[in-house]
């Protein structure tokens, strides 16, 4: 019995859970959800929602391109085609050197917004 409970709610026993007042009912769904998450991703950090996801937020938009690597690769493979990224163009890993063809084109929207479509509702 204790083994199973450990996952759900280490501090409480089943009996008490059932007798919990209206107030505590709010806590249980959250804890149950937490247990579900920990079961799926056991390596999820001890620190709840801590700096890891904050750091990720601060680094949004970071894309790396090393011009040195790129030019060296180009020089080495003068006559051959540079390997392209394949279907997932955004993923650049390992030995693959991103080429201008691989980088997603950042074009500005020359199209007028559809909100300004002009129909009178």
């Amino acid at each position: 019995m204790s083994q199973k409970l450990e996952e759900e709610n280490p501090a409480e026993e089943t009996g008490e859970e059932k007798q919990d007042t209206q107030e505590k009912e709010g806590i249980l769904p959250e804890r149950a959800e937490e247990a579900k998450l920990k079961a799926k991703y056991p390596s999820l950090g001890q620190k709840p929602g801590g700096s890891d996801f904050l750091m990720k937020r601060l680094q949004k938009g970071q894309k790396y391109f090393d011009s040195g690597d790129y030019n060296m690769a180009k020089a080495k493979m003068k006559n051959k085609q540079l390997p392209s990224a394949g279907p997932d163009k955004n993923l650049v890993t390992g030995d693959h050197i991103p080429t201008p063809q691989d980088l997603p084109q950042r074009k500005s929207s020359l199209v007028t917004s559809k909100l300004a479509g002009g129909q009178v509702e």
């Binding site: 709010g26 917004s113 009178v120």
Partner: protein
């Protein structure tokens, strides 16, 4: 006119919300660029601006009373549209800068032209929107088509005259405030002095003068000396509507700090600290994430402020820091879905909130294209939906109900059937009238109170 069918209980003050207009395409396939990212009425409510992920701004203008078409009174039609921001790449930092418009804020009108500030992650721009309905004709040095005349051929002088022309609305960028933010800008707010404004990113808040683009003052800096020690970021900031020295900023930890610029040049030490005490026994992995405040808005009166966290809207009295005076549950039924909402990233969605003109009601969005309104005096609340199905002209909106569990009644929708891709993050309330604008992905809905 049909009586109030639809049943349900309107959100106090006897609001009876009706469909007015919807803007945008009907396609199932929504282009990323068309997703609306901000909605804002100007001070009079005559203009309504939207910004989208494609960096474009569309401004709608309210039609004046028209005898020929009596029911077009109060309708919003396109006034101006322009490309505010374009995608950029910062080569030095290998950083892609999105053109998405994060916020638009209007300046109070001082002359015939309209001014607004629009910002993406890195750059704020001041746009002037002006009307031109006259054109000068009869120049001496150039022809009507603009070609220069041969000066030696000019034998007589004439005075150019102004002739009426079709109304043209022009938008031009008057100021570009760039290079002041290392992190991503989440808020801009115009000061009540109408001369300065603030811009806030994840870790810093800067103060600008509207006339000066080559420098800004840093007034809040929460960047730790060692980034490993980073525990919270700034999520929103706003100036007080009347007190030009007061600003507030919210954090990812669910707190709000009020700063007084008179106390020191760098407002790292707050004057007031608003935080609701948490029950330590209820703490879970999700607690901090769902407490993160996604929006903070002062009431028009300046006496209260409202914060939006993942599951609720809280109204705070500026005189009381210990806890909010009101807490309104937006979608408490999601508490038992937090695991999947974390997995699909929805738990990080940033919902905004807004006050009505008299501060008697507040509104915020939810999922499944639902939005919620809370009447502060009657304590009544209502859930409404922005959908094409209820888009008949002047049709009353039927209140919606989500069934959290157990037996689902007819007309209720169960939590598991909610569409989490249909999120209403941005809503705006007309500053005076009961007219609201609701952004549902790529469509903009406008609803009006029947009494209007």
């Amino acid at each position: 006119m049909a009586g109030a069918g639809g049943g349900g209980c309107p959100a106090g003050n006897d609001f009876q919300w009706c469909f007015s207009q919807v803007k945008g395409a009907v396609d199932e396939d929504v282009a990323e660029a068309d997703i609306i990212s901000t909605v804002e009425f100007n001070y009079s409510g005559d203009l309504l601006a939207t910004g989208d992920k494609g960096g474009r701004v569309v401004i709608f203008q309210r039609e004046q009373e028209n005898k020929i078409r009596p029911h077009s009174r109060g309708e919003y039609n396109v006034y101006s549209t322009f490309q505010s921001h374009e995608p950029e790449f910062d080569y030095l930092k290998s950083l892609e800068i999105e053109e998405k418009i994060n916020k638009i804020r209007w300046l109070p009108q001082q002359n015939a032209a309209h001014f607004l500030l629009s910002t993406n992650d890195k750059t704020i721009k001041l746009w002037k929107i002006s009307e031109r309905d006259k054109r000068a004709e009869g120049y001496n040095l150039k022809d009507e088509d603009g070609r220069l005349r041969d000066p030696f051929r000019i034998t007589a002088l004439r005075v150019p005259i102004l002739k009426p022309m079709d109304l043209m609305v022009e938008a031009s960028p008057r100021r570009i405030f760039a290079n002041a933010h290392t992190y991503h800008i989440n808020s801009i707010s115009v000061n009540s002095d109408h001369e300065t404004y603030l811009s806030a990113d994840d870790l810093r808040i800067n103060l600008w003068h509207l006339e000066i683009t080559d420098r800004s003052f840093n007034i809040v800096d929460i960047k730790p000396a060692n980034m490993e020690e980073l525990t919270e970021v700034i999520t929103a900031a706003e100036f007080h509507p009347h007190q030009c020295n007061v600003l507030v900023y919210s954090s990812s930890k669910g707190t709000v700090r009020l700063c007084d610029m008179r106390s020191s040049a760098l407002c790292d030490r707050h004057s007031k600290f608003f935080e609701e005490p948490e029950d330590p026994s209820s703490r879970s992995f999700f607690s901090e994430i769902i407490s993160s405040i996604s929006d903070v808005k002062f009431s028009h009166s300046g006496r209260y402020m409202m914060t939006r966290d993942y599951l609720s809207v809280k109204v705070w009295d500026l005189n009381m820091e210990s806890r909010p005076v009101e807490t309104h549950q937006v979608h408490e039924y999601l508490r038992s879905k937090l695991c999947s909402l974390y997995e699909n990233d929805c738990i990080f969605d940033k919902f905004e909130c807004c006050w009505n003109g008299s501060d008697s009601a507040v509104m915020t969005g939810s999922y499944n294209n639902f939005f919620r309104m809370f009447d502060r005096s009657t304590r009544r609340d209502v859930t409404l939906e922005a959908s094409r199905e209820s888009s008949k002209p002047r049709a009353s909106l039927k209140p919606r109900k989500v069934c959290a569990g157990g037996k689902r009644k007819k007309d209720e929708i169960s939590v598991d059937s909610l569409d989490f891709n249909k999120k209403i993050l941005h809503t705006a309330w007309h500053p005076v009238d009961n007219v609201i604008a609701v952004a549902a992905t790529n469509n903009l809905y406008i609803f009006q109170d029947k009494a209007n």
